[in-house]
Amino acid sequence: MRQVYLDHNATTPVLPEVLEVMLRYCRDDFGNPSSVHRYGRRARVAVDEARDAVAALLGAPAASIVFCSGGTEANNTILQGVAAALKDKGRHLVTSQIEHPAVLDTCAYLETQGYRVTYVPVNADGIVEPEAVAEALTEETILVSIMHANNEVGTIQPLAEIARLVRERGILLHTDAVQTFGKIPTRVDELGVDFLTFSGHKLYAPKGVGGWYARPGTPLRPLIYGGHQERGRRSGTENVAAIAALGKACELAARDMAREAARQLQLRQALEHGLRERIPAVRIQGEAAPRLPNTTNVAFAGVEGETLLMSLDLQGVAVSTGSACSSGSLEPSHVLKAMGVPAEFLHGALRFSLGRSTTREEIEYVLAILPGIVERARALSPAATP
């Protein structure tokens, strides 16, 4: 059976060139970067070079990059770390209603620790309006955290504008850039952010590695204490092989970004256009907003997304109903709810996220089978309740 992977926002395969680097630092140059001998020195060089590659993609000094276990840890460190460092200055944070659970659940935890959090809504296109963020700021606000692009619908937030309003008040700004890092430009000075989260497994590096950028001089209490690795900002022996792999993945992302973005955008548009043409009662979330070139969230009225997902899976096509972590939950997506998606579409959404391996033939295969799948699910559905 044909296998079509259209879930690159959940995770990506490790590229062959990336895997080679990884194997080298598992097998041959396996030293501990803290060791003084040549094994250690070679590992240290690998970590330093990876830091340079990440820094280049962010337009930031290498010393401002810290590696850790991924996007979730980076988000936790920044939110909890700024909250702890600035607790005498204020105990109020501002974020949005469409953040990843790694931000939302950390905020919920902070609320149990005496902090107050404002969850700014989004408009119907899935965009956080800068004025809404500005209105949420108070004398007590110490940190604003707004994701760069949303993982479920792909909408890109107007960070530069938000940054202007937040920073003129002397407040720190964090962005979760896990879904944009390596896909579209993420230069920290253009975004105007003080902190930025990135993760390896969304850009063809392995899972379990990622990190954050912290503007030099910003306050941040570490989450993890120990052997002073990463200059004390994140202890624990460096995951050298994964970090080196991430560095390689950043180089490849920088090399191919413009070309891949344009290519994937074309395929995504073909998919959206084809679905519209072949299936009645289709809704594309955030259609009018700037979106990631590889992502589209399409809802089909009167059917259940998981049913479509399973039918597609039986025919070899892997997609998602939202974020991978929330599947299996009863509730419709918090992102679609925040966008005010109409009830008949709320349960019938699928996220297609394209990647480097995606071809036109794959898109055509999906366009060939999905109309029948939706039709079958609709035929199974009861007519509108009397």
């Binding site: 009167g302 259940e304 049913t307 997902l309 299996g328 349960h347 199974l380 007519a383």
Partner: protein, 126 residues
């Protein structure tokens, strides 16, 4: 995604007794407010025995499989026997459902009860 048993997958791929019964002797539409899933159950009853059962369901794969297996369980049963069907039996008939998916079988139990409690035998001409 939640793991599904082979039986769930089988009923999902080839659901039994899909459709409507015109002029059914009993029917019910029930839905789960949390996930929005809806089941419409139709029954034809002769004497006190269910002779035909059909369904239409908008829901997740587990809800569709549960509807399908429920119609199979209903056909041939007497009304009291049908009323005794529990969600646990529906779930067991599907090889078990994960904790997150147990509520999908509740829809079936609710539909049976709602349809049969409202059922009054038709007056036979005499």
């Amino acid at each position: 995604m939640t793991r599904y048993s082979d039986l769930v997958q089988e009923h999902f791929e080839r659901p039994r007794n899909v459709g409507e019964i015109p002029n059914p002797d009993a029917e019910a539409v029930v839905s789960n407010p949390a996930c929005g899933d809806t089941m419409h159950l139709y029954l034809r009853i002769e004497g006190d025995r269910i002779v035909e059962a059909k369904f239409k369901t908008m829901g997740c794969p587990a809800a569709i499989a549960a509807s399908s297996v429920t119609t199979e369980m209903l056909i041939g049963r007497r009304i009291e026997e049908a009323l005794a069907i529990t969600r646990a039996e529906v779930s067991a008939a599907l090889g078990g459902l994960s904790p997150q998916k147990v509520h999908c079988s509740v829809l079936s139990e609710d539909a049976i009860k709602a349809a049969l409690r409202r059922y009054r035998p038709r007056q036979t001409e005499g």
